[in-house]
Amino acid sequence: MVEGIQHFTTGWKAKKLVKGKKYIWAIDESGNLRIGEEISVGVGRRQRLGHPTLVPDDGLARVGGEIKLPDKSNQWRINDESGRFSTSRSKEERANILTNVQTLFKEAGLDVGVRF
Protein backbone atom coordinates (compact mmCIF):
# COMPACT_ATOMS: atom_id res chain seq x y z
CA MET A 1 0.00 0.00 0.00
CA VAL A 2 1.25 3.49 -0.73
CA GLU A 3 0.01 6.40 1.35
CA GLY A 4 0.19 10.15 1.02
CA ILE A 5 0.99 10.13 -2.67
CA GLN A 6 2.37 13.46 -3.81
CA HIS A 7 2.16 14.28 -7.49
CA PHE A 8 4.34 17.17 -8.58
CA THR A 9 3.91 19.44 -11.52
CA THR A 10 5.97 22.57 -12.05
CA GLY A 11 6.19 24.75 -8.96
CA TRP A 12 4.84 22.26 -6.42
CA LYS A 13 6.91 21.57 -3.31
CA ALA A 14 7.22 18.27 -1.47
CA LYS A 15 6.53 17.61 2.18
CA LYS A 16 9.60 16.90 4.27
CA LEU A 17 10.61 13.23 4.31
CA VAL A 18 10.35 11.67 7.75
CA LYS A 19 13.21 9.57 9.14
CA GLY A 20 12.15 5.96 9.79
CA LYS A 21 9.56 5.89 7.00
CA LYS A 22 9.94 4.18 3.64
CA TYR A 23 9.30 6.07 0.44
CA ILE A 24 9.17 5.22 -3.22
CA TRP A 25 9.11 7.42 -6.32
CA ALA A 26 8.08 7.10 -9.94
CA ILE A 27 8.04 9.28 -13.03
CA ASP A 28 4.60 8.96 -14.59
CA GLU A 29 3.87 8.84 -18.29
CA SER A 30 3.56 12.64 -18.40
CA GLY A 31 7.04 13.04 -16.93
CA ASN A 32 5.84 14.17 -13.51
CA LEU A 33 7.45 13.05 -10.27
CA ARG A 34 5.32 11.05 -7.85
CA ILE A 35 6.35 10.24 -4.29
CA GLY A 36 4.56 8.07 -1.74
CA GLU A 37 5.17 6.45 1.60
CA GLU A 38 5.33 2.68 1.30
CA ILE A 39 3.36 0.83 3.96
CA SER A 40 3.74 -2.88 4.64
CA VAL A 41 0.59 -4.88 4.00
CA GLY A 42 1.57 -8.15 5.61
CA VAL A 43 4.34 -10.53 6.43
CA GLY A 44 6.43 -12.24 3.79
CA ARG A 45 8.33 -11.65 0.61
CA ARG A 46 5.63 -9.52 -0.93
CA GLN A 47 5.03 -7.16 1.94
CA ARG A 48 4.46 -4.14 -0.24
CA LEU A 49 2.39 -3.36 -3.27
CA GLY A 50 5.03 -1.04 -4.65
CA HIS A 51 5.32 1.20 -7.65
CA PRO A 52 2.24 0.29 -9.69
CA THR A 53 0.11 1.70 -6.86
CA LEU A 54 1.98 5.00 -7.05
CA VAL A 55 0.83 5.83 -10.56
CA PRO A 56 -2.70 5.99 -11.93
CA ASP A 57 -4.44 3.56 -14.27
CA ASP A 58 -2.90 0.43 -12.83
CA GLY A 59 0.59 1.70 -12.85
CA LEU A 60 2.10 3.00 -16.04
CA ALA A 61 5.34 4.83 -15.41
CA ARG A 62 8.65 5.55 -17.11
CA VAL A 63 10.97 4.73 -14.24
CA GLY A 64 10.77 4.28 -10.47
CA GLY A 65 12.79 3.61 -7.38
CA GLU A 66 13.20 3.99 -3.65
CA ILE A 67 14.09 6.95 -1.44
CA LYS A 68 16.26 5.89 1.48
CA LEU A 69 18.08 7.57 4.32
CA PRO A 70 21.33 5.64 4.72
CA ASP A 71 22.67 4.89 8.19
CA LYS A 72 24.86 7.69 9.54
CA SER A 73 23.70 10.10 6.86
CA ASN A 74 21.47 13.15 6.84
CA GLN A 75 20.86 13.10 3.11
CA TRP A 76 18.15 10.95 1.56
CA ARG A 77 19.24 9.04 -1.53
CA ILE A 78 17.27 7.85 -4.52
CA ASN A 79 17.90 4.66 -6.47
CA ASP A 80 16.15 3.02 -9.42
CA GLU A 81 15.18 -0.22 -7.70
CA SER A 82 11.80 -0.84 -9.23
CA GLY A 83 11.67 -4.19 -10.92
CA ARG A 84 8.64 -3.17 -12.90
CA PHE A 85 9.96 0.11 -14.27
CA SER A 86 13.73 0.10 -14.16
CA THR A 87 14.83 -2.83 -16.30
CA SER A 88 16.42 -2.94 -19.73
CA ARG A 89 18.78 -0.01 -19.49
CA SER A 90 22.54 0.16 -19.63
CA LYS A 91 24.45 1.53 -16.64
CA GLU A 92 25.19 4.75 -18.52
CA GLU A 93 21.54 5.30 -19.41
CA ARG A 94 20.48 4.60 -15.81
CA ALA A 95 23.02 7.12 -14.48
CA ASN A 96 21.71 9.80 -16.86
CA ILE A 97 18.09 9.08 -15.88
CA LEU A 98 18.82 9.17 -12.14
CA THR A 99 20.66 12.48 -12.50
CA ASN A 100 17.64 13.94 -14.31
CA VAL A 101 15.30 12.57 -11.64
CA GLN A 102 17.52 14.12 -8.96
CA THR A 103 16.88 17.49 -10.65
CA LEU A 104 13.11 16.91 -10.43
CA PHE A 105 13.47 16.19 -6.70
CA LYS A 106 15.43 19.44 -6.28
CA GLU A 107 12.69 21.35 -8.11
CA ALA A 108 10.23 19.81 -5.64
CA GLY A 109 12.37 21.09 -2.75
CA LEU A 110 14.10 17.81 -1.84
CA ASP A 111 17.90 17.81 -1.99
CA VAL A 112 18.52 14.09 -2.47
CA GLY A 113 21.66 12.21 -3.41
CA VAL A 114 21.80 9.42 -5.97
CA ARG A 115 22.78 5.81 -5.43
CA PHE A 116 23.83 4.35 -8.76
Binding site: R45, G83, S90, K91
Partner: protein, 185 residues
Protein backbone atom coordinates in the same frame (compact mmCIF):
# COMPACT_ATOMS: atom_id res chain seq x y z
CA UNK B 1 17.36 -20.94 14.67
CA UNK B 2 20.01 -23.04 12.89
CA UNK B 3 22.33 -21.30 10.47
CA UNK B 4 20.76 -22.79 7.33
CA UNK B 5 17.28 -21.65 8.33
CA UNK B 6 18.60 -18.26 9.31
CA UNK B 7 20.20 -17.87 5.87
CA UNK B 8 17.04 -19.03 4.10
CA UNK B 9 14.89 -16.64 6.13
CA UNK B 10 17.22 -13.78 5.30
CA UNK B 11 16.94 -14.50 1.56
CA UNK B 12 13.19 -15.03 1.69
CA UNK B 13 12.33 -11.99 3.76
CA UNK B 14 14.91 -9.67 5.31
CA UNK B 15 17.28 -8.98 2.43
CA UNK B 16 14.77 -6.74 0.67
CA UNK B 17 14.87 -4.26 3.55
CA UNK B 18 18.56 -4.56 4.39
CA UNK B 19 21.26 -2.10 3.40
CA UNK B 20 24.30 -3.45 1.59
CA UNK B 21 26.67 -3.05 4.53
CA UNK B 22 24.40 -5.09 6.78
CA UNK B 23 23.89 -7.69 4.06
CA UNK B 24 27.68 -7.95 3.63
CA UNK B 25 28.04 -8.45 7.35
CA UNK B 26 25.31 -11.08 7.42
CA UNK B 27 26.74 -13.11 4.53
CA UNK B 28 30.25 -12.95 5.98
CA UNK B 29 29.11 -15.57 8.52
CA UNK B 30 28.58 -18.17 5.80
CA UNK B 31 30.74 -19.93 3.28
CA UNK B 32 30.06 -19.40 -0.39
CA UNK B 33 28.71 -22.88 -1.02
CA UNK B 34 25.99 -22.45 1.60
CA UNK B 35 25.01 -19.06 0.22
CA UNK B 36 24.80 -20.34 -3.35
CA UNK B 37 22.76 -23.34 -2.22
CA UNK B 38 20.32 -21.18 -0.23
CA UNK B 39 20.01 -18.64 -3.04
CA UNK B 40 19.32 -21.37 -5.60
CA UNK B 41 16.63 -22.84 -3.34
CA UNK B 42 15.10 -19.41 -2.86
CA UNK B 43 15.01 -18.63 -6.60
CA UNK B 44 13.60 -22.05 -7.50
CA UNK B 45 10.78 -21.39 -5.02
CA UNK B 46 9.65 -18.55 -7.34
CA UNK B 47 8.54 -21.24 -9.78
CA UNK B 48 5.12 -19.73 -10.44
CA UNK B 49 6.94 -17.04 -12.46
CA UNK B 50 4.32 -14.39 -11.71
CA UNK B 51 5.22 -10.76 -12.34
CA UNK B 52 5.96 -10.49 -8.62
CA UNK B 53 8.25 -13.53 -8.74
CA UNK B 54 10.16 -12.08 -11.67
CA UNK B 55 10.37 -8.67 -10.01
CA UNK B 56 11.62 -10.13 -6.73
CA UNK B 57 14.20 -12.28 -8.51
CA UNK B 58 15.42 -9.16 -10.31
CA UNK B 59 15.57 -7.22 -7.01
CA UNK B 60 17.43 -10.09 -5.38
CA UNK B 61 19.90 -9.96 -8.27
CA UNK B 62 20.46 -6.28 -7.64
CA UNK B 63 20.98 -6.93 -3.92
CA UNK B 64 23.64 -9.55 -4.68
CA UNK B 65 25.17 -7.28 -7.31
CA UNK B 66 25.65 -4.60 -4.67
CA UNK B 67 27.48 -6.88 -2.23
CA UNK B 68 31.20 -6.27 -1.81
CA UNK B 69 31.72 -10.01 -2.33
CA UNK B 70 29.64 -11.29 -5.26
CA UNK B 71 30.57 -14.93 -4.59
CA UNK B 72 30.87 -15.73 -8.35
CA UNK B 73 27.10 -15.91 -8.17
CA UNK B 74 26.60 -15.44 -11.90
CA UNK B 75 28.70 -18.54 -12.67
CA UNK B 76 26.49 -20.65 -10.40
CA UNK B 77 23.17 -19.22 -11.58
CA UNK B 78 24.11 -19.67 -15.25
CA UNK B 79 24.91 -23.33 -14.48
CA UNK B 80 21.63 -23.73 -12.60
CA UNK B 81 19.61 -22.17 -15.43
CA UNK B 82 21.21 -24.57 -17.92
CA UNK B 83 20.08 -27.54 -15.81
CA UNK B 84 16.50 -26.38 -15.32
CA UNK B 85 13.92 -27.18 -17.97
CA UNK B 86 10.81 -25.44 -16.73
CA UNK B 87 9.59 -21.85 -16.78
CA UNK B 88 11.60 -21.14 -13.61
CA UNK B 89 14.48 -20.37 -15.97
CA UNK B 90 12.82 -17.00 -16.54
CA UNK B 91 13.24 -16.29 -12.82
CA UNK B 92 16.93 -17.22 -12.95
CA UNK B 93 17.51 -14.94 -15.94
CA UNK B 94 15.61 -12.12 -14.20
CA UNK B 95 18.00 -12.56 -11.26
CA UNK B 96 21.00 -12.34 -13.60
CA UNK B 97 19.63 -9.16 -15.21
CA UNK B 98 19.39 -7.50 -11.79
CA UNK B 99 22.83 -8.82 -10.85
CA UNK B 100 24.49 -7.52 -14.02
CA UNK B 101 22.91 -4.11 -13.46
CA UNK B 102 25.21 -3.66 -10.48
CA UNK B 103 28.06 -6.18 -10.50
CA UNK B 104 31.02 -6.84 -12.75
CA UNK B 105 30.31 -9.98 -14.71
CA UNK B 106 32.50 -13.05 -14.85
CA UNK B 107 33.08 -12.93 -18.57
CA UNK B 108 33.27 -16.72 -18.78
CA UNK B 109 29.79 -16.93 -17.26
CA UNK B 110 28.45 -14.49 -19.85
CA UNK B 111 29.91 -16.61 -22.66
CA UNK B 112 28.44 -19.77 -21.09
CA UNK B 113 25.09 -18.00 -20.91
CA UNK B 114 25.45 -17.14 -24.60
CA UNK B 115 26.14 -20.79 -25.43
CA UNK B 116 23.04 -21.80 -23.46
CA UNK B 117 20.95 -19.29 -25.41
CA UNK B 118 22.19 -20.74 -28.69
CA UNK B 119 21.03 -24.17 -27.46
CA UNK B 120 17.65 -22.65 -26.48
CA UNK B 121 17.33 -21.11 -29.95
CA UNK B 122 17.84 -24.51 -31.52
CA UNK B 123 15.42 -26.31 -29.20
CA UNK B 124 11.75 -26.91 -29.85
CA UNK B 125 9.03 -25.83 -27.47
CA UNK B 126 11.06 -23.25 -25.53
CA UNK B 127 9.00 -20.24 -24.57
CA UNK B 128 10.02 -17.02 -26.29
CA UNK B 129 9.80 -15.24 -22.93
CA UNK B 130 12.56 -17.49 -21.59
CA UNK B 131 14.73 -16.80 -24.64
CA UNK B 132 14.15 -13.04 -24.43
CA UNK B 133 14.88 -13.07 -20.68
CA UNK B 134 18.15 -14.90 -21.29
CA UNK B 135 19.10 -12.47 -24.06
CA UNK B 136 18.37 -9.52 -21.77
CA UNK B 137 20.70 -10.97 -19.12
CA UNK B 138 23.41 -11.68 -21.71
CA UNK B 139 23.16 -8.16 -23.13
CA UNK B 140 23.49 -6.56 -19.69
CA UNK B 141 26.37 -8.88 -18.72
CA UNK B 142 28.20 -7.81 -21.88
CA UNK B 143 27.22 -4.17 -22.40
CA UNK B 144 27.76 -3.17 -18.76
CA UNK B 145 31.22 -4.73 -18.74
CA UNK B 146 32.74 -3.71 -22.07
CA UNK B 147 36.09 -2.88 -20.49
CA UNK B 148 36.43 -6.37 -19.02
CA UNK B 149 35.70 -7.93 -22.40
CA UNK B 150 38.04 -5.59 -24.28
CA UNK B 151 40.90 -6.87 -22.11
CA UNK B 152 40.21 -10.34 -23.53
CA UNK B 153 40.00 -9.86 -27.31
CA UNK B 154 39.21 -13.48 -28.19
CA UNK B 155 36.34 -13.66 -25.69
CA UNK B 156 35.17 -10.22 -26.79
CA UNK B 157 35.05 -11.40 -30.40
CA UNK B 158 33.00 -14.43 -29.39
CA UNK B 159 30.60 -12.27 -27.36
CA UNK B 160 30.13 -9.88 -30.27
CA UNK B 161 29.33 -12.77 -32.61
CA UNK B 162 26.74 -14.04 -30.13
CA UNK B 163 25.30 -10.57 -29.69
CA UNK B 164 24.81 -10.27 -33.46
CA UNK B 165 22.80 -13.52 -33.47
CA UNK B 166 20.74 -12.49 -30.44
CA UNK B 167 19.99 -9.09 -31.94
CA UNK B 168 18.15 -10.82 -34.79
CA UNK B 169 16.04 -12.78 -32.25
CA UNK B 170 15.45 -9.68 -30.12
CA UNK B 171 14.22 -7.78 -33.17
CA UNK B 172 11.26 -10.20 -33.29
CA UNK B 173 10.27 -9.37 -29.69
CA UNK B 174 7.59 -6.80 -28.82
CA UNK B 175 9.13 -3.33 -28.85
CA UNK B 176 8.61 -2.89 -25.09
CA UNK B 177 10.45 -6.13 -24.31
CA UNK B 178 13.74 -5.48 -22.47
CA UNK B 179 15.70 -7.59 -24.99
CA UNK B 180 14.37 -5.42 -27.83
CA UNK B 181 15.00 -2.25 -25.85
CA UNK B 182 18.61 -3.20 -25.12
CA UNK B 183 19.69 -4.58 -28.48
CA UNK B 184 17.44 -3.11 -31.15
CA UNK B 185 16.14 0.26 -29.97
Amino acid sequence: MDTNRSLQKFLDFDIFDTEEEQADLFFSQYDEQKIVHALSKCLLSYHRCSNEDLEDAWRLGRKFGNLSNNFSIDIEIVKLAAKENGPVRRVLYAFLSGFYDQADSNIGAVIDLGRNIIILLGSEGVSKEIVYGAIEAFALGYLNNLKLFKNNPLIDKKAKEMLAVFKVTASEAPTDNPAYQLLVK
